[in-house]
């Protein structure tokens, strides 16, 4: 057994992948982190409090983990789902009826709910430990945008099953946009934007119309939400997360008393 192990680790193939021995010495432990793209997100050494669960609650890490789960399950769901008013509901129905032990939709939905909760708790922890204070002001703001993106990801996904729950929740949510000051046709100030008695902001061109590609939640909205949910927001989120993690390191690692 030991010989076999030795033989494998001596091959050119093995050595081309791993450039250090088993990480049980300081040197190898350092190399294990430095020579791995993913582990390289971390510094080589961390403060004890930074890995203490009762300090960080692990909520940022869990949020990221849930984001990965969403990416994988979402990708699988995309194979079976077509975003048209005619087919969307049928496809979801088929997922539930024809796939044995199909839990992809469940995983995707429950992990999405959880992700919203873990983002909130992460923000709560960061606030309560004062970790937004200098030098971490900027990263806190990256976080605030991530919070908004997380909610938008969840909101756009909510529409896709195209059942009563979905359509009406999005209707209630986007109805708010009608009342945007100046930009929504039922918002204060919208009537001021008119020329020669011609209203410029009306139900057919206000922000809500732009969001939904129509006057109500219809096929246009479904496609728009689908594209944003599957491509737009995940790309933005991934980019911001990269910045977020990078900044955690650059700002001196996870916060702790000086």
């Amino acid at each position: 057994m030991k010989k076999l192990l030795e033989a494998t680790t001596k091959t050119q193939l093995w050595k081309s992948v791993f450039r250090h021995g088993y990480p049980d010495t300081p040197r190898n432990r350092t190399l294990a982190v430095l020579s791995n793209v993913f582990l390289h997100l971390h510094p080589v050494k961390v403060r004890r409090s930074g890995i203490q669960l009762s300090y960080t609650w692990c909520m940022g890490g869990l949020t990221f983990f849930l984001f990965l789960i969403e990416t994988i399950t979402g990708l699988l769901l995309m194979f079976y789902y077509r975003p048209t008013a005619e087919l969307a509901f049928q496809d979801i129905m088929a997922l539930r009826e024809h796939v044995p032990i199909g839990i992809m939709r469940e995983l995707h939905r429950w992990a999405a709910h959880l992700m919203v909760i873990t983002v909130w708790l992460h923000m709560y922890r960061v606030f309560l430990t004062g970790s937004y204070k200098p030098p971490r002001e900027f990263n806190w703001n990256v976080g605030v945008i991530l919070l908004v993106i997380t909610l938008l990801l969840s909101f756009t996904g909510y529409l896709l099953p195209w059942d009563q729950l979905a359509v009406w929740a999005i209707t209630v949510g986007t109805n708010m946009a009608r009342a945007t000051p100046f930009l929504g046709h039922e918002g204060p100030g919208a009537a001021l934007i008119s020329f020669g008695g011609l209203d410029f902001v009306h139900a057919g061109d206000d922000v809500r119309f732009g969001l939904l590609a129509g006057r109500f939640v219809g096929e246009g909205a479904l496609l728009r939400f689908y594209v944003l949910h599957c491509v737009g927001f995940p790309l933005i989120a991934a980019t911001l997360m990269a910045i977020h993690f990078w900044r955690v390191r650059k700002d001196g690692g996870i916060s702790g008393p000086l």
Binding site: S49, I92, I103, L121, L151, L165, V167
Partner: protein, 360 residues
């Protein structure tokens, strides 16, 4: 006995009592934090909570609303927020005592040591990952994701609710028009959160839990997050039924339950009740009392507070920061203010100009 408890719970969760109760609880907990940070408190909470769930589950109305697959996360939200609030308070209390004795904080003690990322951190992450994956898979097997009837735009379900994380905002629609509850306040929340690091100049409490060194900040976040966000989400999910009427957790969601709404604008109070004359036709004149009130609230209050209650804070953070913070805080203060006015004198709008969609 069982009926008695159910009635008591239904009575207690009526929005006015719910909100006041929640507020009092937070005040008590933060004031008597030494007591509430004890371990038996959290144990007692979860034991009693579990006992209540077991008891309440037999009630069909309760099981229907709490057991709805999409509502399970709200129960998790409640449990985790309570637990982590307690945990942070406990650490804050311990740290405050240590600081008072001149000892390093819990985190400070730990910090002198540094550990290798591999294996310590990587293994922690791995274990978290495996446990969570297992939990998610089990959850997904036990509970099916909901799917209702196909979308039909001609048939509005009652109640129509936004996704659960926005129900706090939907609850605000009881008191405000959409342009405030759905547009202005959310925008202010985002901008306000972003402004926090620049407004809070207190250098203490960076990287460890504490209460005494950041009293205002901690109060602010508990009230903002726990009370106005989390408790409203719970209220909106579990206690609001058809027509957004209130329903106790043991109450049947009756479509015909109507709550009488006789709310009156400030302008009516001023012109009709106080001056005993009809409201003027000129819109601006009609709403002048409301504008005067809002003007005083947003323009006079900040300098007034700066000279009195917030004197030391004003001196510490300076004009610009103070103004930014005050205006954010006043917008949020408008929420409980309007709630109180609604409950006590049935006030509808402070400024009510439906002609221009401008109602405050």
């Amino acid at each position: 006995m069982a009926d008695y408890i159910k009635h008591a719970v239904n009575w207690l969760t009526e929005p006015t009592r719910y909100f006041i109760g929640f507020t009092l609880a937070i005040i008590l907990i933060l004031q008597f934090r030494k007591f509430f940070a004890k371990t038996f408190v959290i144990v007692a909470f979860f034991v009693l909570g579990a006992a209540f769930l077991v008891f309440a589950w037999k009630d069909p109305n309760f099981a229907k609303i709490i057991g709805k697959p999409d509502n399970v996360p709200i129960v998790i939200l409640l449990a985790t927020v309570v637990y982590f609030s307690w945990l942070s308070l406990r650490k804050a209390v311990i740290n405050d005592e240590r600081i008072a004795r001149g000892e390093p904080t819990l985190e400070g003690d730990f910090n002198k040591q540094k550990v290798f990322t591999w294996p310590d951190l990587v293994y922690t992450e791995l274990i978290c990952l495996v446990l969570f994956t297992v939990a998610l898979v089990v959850w997904s097997i036990v509970l099916m994701a909901p799917l209702e009837e196909p979308a039909e735009l001609a048939r509005t379900p009652n109640p129509s609710k936004a996704p659960w994380y926005f129900l706090g905002l939907q609850e605000l629609l009881v008191y405000f028009d959409p342009w405030i509850a759905g547009v202005l306040l959310p925008s202010f929340i985002i901008v306000g959160l972003g402004a926090i690091p620049y407004v809070d100049t207190n250098p203490k409490g960076n990287g460890y839990y504490t209460f005494n060194e950041r009293k205002f900040a901690i109060w602010f976040f508990w009230i903002g997050f726990v009370l106005f966000w989390v408790s409203f989400v719970i209220l909106g999910t579990f206690l609001r039924g058809p027509n957004w009427s209130f329903f106790g957790p043991f109450e049947y969601w009756d479509l015909h339950k109507l709550e009488p709404m006789v709310n009156v604008d400030l302008s009516t109070y001023f012109w009709v009740n106080l001056l005993d004359q009809p409201r003027p036709d000129n819109i601006l004149l009609r709403e002048a009392p409301g504008f005067a009130f809002l003007g005083a609230f947003f323009l006079l209050l900040p300098p007034l507070l700066a000279k009195t209650v917030c004197r030391s804070m004003f001196a510490q953070i300076g004009m610009v920061r103070y103004q930014v913070m005050m205006h954010m805080l006043l917008w949020f203060a408008l929420i409980p203010l309007k709630m109180l006015l609604r409950w006590t004198v049935g006030l509808k709008y402070i400024v009510g100009i439906p002609e221009w969609f401008f109602n405050v």
